[in-house]
Amino acid sequence: MANFVVLDPTVDFKGLAKIANLAPKVDDLNGKVLGLLNHHGSAVSGAANGRDPFFEAIKSTLEKRYKLKGVVWRTKPNLSRVAPKEMLEEIAAQADVVINGTCS
């Protein structure tokens, strides 16, 4: 019965995990430096000084739960694009973990 053949138009999506090397996870945040890489903090999100209120909430929540050694906070110059290499290298060198905000 079936004799009309077509080719499959789909592919397996690689996502991000399959094209990037993920760093090993940190077991405990106590004594660690927290990195916050938020997107374009601007008046769009009601942010002050380029900081996003959502990240403010994450920071205060984590500070209550853990004894962080410090917090490094950077704001991407362009909310939709990947952060510049220098910024990524800087925050990776200073922080033990980084929470990356994304907004398109």
């Binding site: 077509v6 690689k14 601007s42 942010a47 000084n49 909310l79 939709s80």
Partner: protein, 358 residues
């Protein structure tokens, strides 16, 4: 070389068309069956190896091989001769400047537009005249192939990762051709320094906003300037790096050109005049905070002074000018607003002339 895609069997073409919806191989419009013969014809015309990888298509990073791209073109209804145009447009969209990941996932209603210019427009039979944003087989099916690539290889799905609450109808197909017979200026792709006879320019833009420009050249220019800096546009809110496209009806373009205006003159005029007083913008803006300012504006904009006139873009070269459409009216222009500094920047690629056989 053998084709690598797995095959599916259906009762007939109607069975395929119906099941393609169920399998999520299309976004709401019917698609043509990608039979091995049709796909092979597409590959033969391009003269490219089916396993050649063009790139990863965001947002879900599906691998775009020549074979998978040819399949999308067949499904879209493209002739084999259209395939090089699709490949050129996709290559441009994968350029980092375009930020295709952002264009596809942003909440803003910009979609990737392909503008075709040069002799290829007539060679392939594009509609470059009446209803130029509407009908024409190359226009419709090349734009459609791009969308199917973004759908099936990019995995760009509304209500999952394509987050624009509104978007616009160009999300189905969005390709327009310049009117090469009536354009008084060099074709669009030449503005990007390309030396090829034909080319494509891709840019992330909202749907075209029509405007009535029936006055003389000077009044037409003022109308353009006023329209493109409307308060709600992303361009003026993120002027530092944003771009936009003015699609000028041929007779309007000829009127302005006859008065001595070059494309460069027009860009300069629009940069100088498409501005809004800061005090007025603040009345319409979201929570403008003088302490923070708007980081999207050029550094030289004095954000403490309400009399500052904020430009719609940071540089005249951010305004792109295409000439397309019919000649029945002498007074219509369309403004295609950009996304702002986040992405969708115009990128050009050359297109080879088609082989005569296809």
């Amino acid at each position: 070389m053998a084709l690598a895609s797995r095959t599916h069997e259906f009762k007939d073409a109607w069975d395929f068309i119906e099941l393609a919806f169920e399998k999520n191989w299309t976004d709401g419009l019917p698609v043509c069956p990608p039979t091995p013969e049709r796909v092979q014809a597409m590959l033969d015309h391009a003269g490219r190896k089916p396993d050649e990888v063009v790139g990863l298509v965001p947002p879900q990073n599906g691998e775009a091989t020549i074979e998978k791209l040819a399949i999308q073109c067949v499904m879209a209804g493209c002739k084999p001769s259209y395939f090089p145009v699709v490949l050129a447009a996709l290559d441009a969209m994968l350029d980092e400047r375009f930020n295709l990941y952002g264009v596809e996932t942003t909440t803003h209603a910009n979609e990737p537009l392909t503008v075709v210019s040069g002799p290829i427009v007539k060679e392939l039979g594009f509609n470059y005249a009446d209803a130029v944003f509407g009908q024409g087989r190359p226009n419709a099916t090349i734009g459609r192939a791009i969308r199917l690539i973004l759908w099936n290889l990019g995995g760009s799905y509304p209500n999952l990762n394509a987050k624009a609450p509104l978007s616009h109808p160009g999300r189905y197909t969005f390709c327009v051709a310049e009117n090469i017979e009536e354009n008084p200026w060099p074709p669009l792709h030449k503005d990007f320094g390309l030396t090829s006879e034909s080319g494509v320019v891709v840019i992330g833009v909202e749907a075209p906003h029509g405007m009535l420009t029936l006055g003389d050249a000077q009044s037409t220019l003022y109308t353009w300037a006023d329209t493109i800096c409307r308060m709600g546009g992303n361009n003026i809110q993120y002027a530092n790096g944003g771009q936009g496209l003015l699609v000028i009806g041929p007779k309007v373009a000829q009127k302005v050109a006859a008065a001595g205006w070059t494309k460069s003159d027009i860009r300069t005029f629009l940069f100088d005049n498409a501005r809004r007083r800061l005090g007025d913008l603040k009345r319409g803006f979201y929570n403008f905070d003088p302490a923070v300012g708007n980081p999207g504006w050029p550094k030289w904009v004095d954000q403490q002074n309400d009399e500052t006139r904020v430009p719609v873009v940071a540089d005249p070269s951010d305004l792109h000018l295409a000439v397309a459409g019919g000649v029945a009216a002498h007074w219509f222009t369309a403004w295609c607003p950009g996304w702002g500094l986040m992405g969708g920047m115009a990128v050009a690629r050359p297109v080879p002339l088609p082989k005569k056989s296809a």
